[in-house]
């Protein structure tokens, strides 16, 4: 059985924030956001 789930390519958060002029301010005020935070659940990674 093969199910095909169609995904759509939408705007990324980065694109939307850039368009609305808030990306640079966010990056400036959140310099230490760790993109890998979701992998560190319970710090056991």
């Amino acid at each position: 059985i093969l199910y095909r789930i169609i995904l759509k390519k939408g705007k990324s958060i980065r694109q939307v924030m850039e368009e609305q002029g808030v990306l640079q301010t966010f990056l400036k005020n959140h310099p230490k956001v760790d993109p890998g935070a979701k992998y560190l659940f319970n710090n056991d990674a």
């Binding site: 199910y3 169609i6 995904l7 759509k8 939408g10 990056l27 890998g36 979701k38 560190l40 659940f41």
Partner: protein, 318 residues
């Protein structure tokens, strides 16, 4: 841009439609191979981010059951607090009964406000999930919706909805074992790592040059900046933007030169440790560098995620 830790950050953009509840309430979710929980915004949430998205109303679903537990989920783009519950989840034509999912209560992160998706559907291993109930993939298996816990991604070259190729790949599939049953981690044999040349290097060039590629060429010609030796040691990005990145071999760092800028007669040396940024932000148990293979890789290579055999397969995409 000096604050930017990684240019791919906040750049997920492949979303799919699912529905939750009876009658179904629709959501656009990010299909995420790097997490394992399903969550959507809910009417419990009073954060600004939730006002900008579809919210699940449990009181409007006859099949909803409350779990009572709350957890915090952590993502690179922020964290959120969810209340766990159970309801019918429909993904395309797959119906899953009593699927555990998170109803967001607090979404304090700014990025979630701007996200074009409502929630996230995690497709990694159960060990990465909060709560003790099956993930979406596990539920599909347990309820007989799938014969094997395998999924794959194919990026169509054709116009969406037309000329969809029934054959996804050509040639042999290269299988490799998952090295850690948390997310889809596999080993790369080569010792190359993602290393970025400091963005600050690019800015002086673009500021003093006229514009774009031609300006950078003139700098190379005059022997300024890293571009003089980049062709020998670095693989230069094709992009002419100030955010250009370069890849260098981990083993080459020690032999890379100290670059000395002389400003008004004073030498200002810059050792390689200063201008090479290790973009690996995840700890690795083996000490090996970790890559994240995103859509650039997945477009070229049809990628199979086989949770039943703890392996991944790669084949040339057609």
């Amino acid at each position: 841009v000096a604050y930017e830790p990684f240019t791919n950050y906040l750049n997920s953009y492949y979303f799919g439609e699912i529905s939750i509840g009876t009658p179904p309430q629709n959501f656009l979710v990010l299909f995420d191979t790097g997490s394992s929980n399903l969550w959507v915004p809910s009417t419990y949430c009073k954060s600004q981010a939730c006002s900008n998205h579809n919210t699940f109303n449990p009181s409007m679903s006859s099949t909803y059951q409350n779990n009572g537990q709350t957890y915090t989920l952590y993502y690179g783009s922020g964290s959120l607090t969810v209340l766990l519950g159970y309801d019918t989840v429909t993904v395309q034509n797959i119906v899953i009964h009593n699927q555990e999912f998170g109803l967001s209560e607090i979404e304090p992160s700014n990025p979630f406000y701007y996200a074009n998706f409502d929630g996230i559907l995690g497709m990694a291993y159960p060990n990465l999930a909060v709560g003790n109930s099956p993930t979406v993939m596990e539920s599909m298996m347990q309820q007989g919706q799938l014969t094997s816990p395998i999924f794959s991604f194919y990026f169509s070259r054709a116009h969406p909805g037309r000329n969809m190729n029934s054959q996804f790949y050509s040639g042999e599939i290269v299988w490799t074992p998952v090295t850690r049953e948390l997310y889809w981690q596999v080993a790369i044999d080569d010792t190359w790592s993602v290393l970025c040349l400091g963005i600050g290097f690019c800015l002086p060039c673009s500021q003093t040059a006229s514009a774009g590629r031609s300006g950078r060429k003139s700098h190379r010609g005059r022997g300024l900046g890293p571009f003089v030796w980049a062709p020998r040691l670095l693989a230069r990005s094709s992009s002419a933007s100030p955010l250009s990145q370069f890849v260098v071999n981990c083993n080459s760092i020690q032999s890379m030169p100290t670059i000395t800028f002389v400003i008004r007669g004073s030498p200002l040396p810059l050792p390689p440790s200063a201008y090479v940024l290790n973009a690996t932000y995840l700890p690795s148990p083996s000490g090996q560098p970790l890559w994240t293979l995103g859509d650039v890789f997945l477009k070229e290579y049809y990628t199979i995620y086989d949770m039943g055999n703890n392996r991944m397969g790669f084949a040339l995409s057609v």
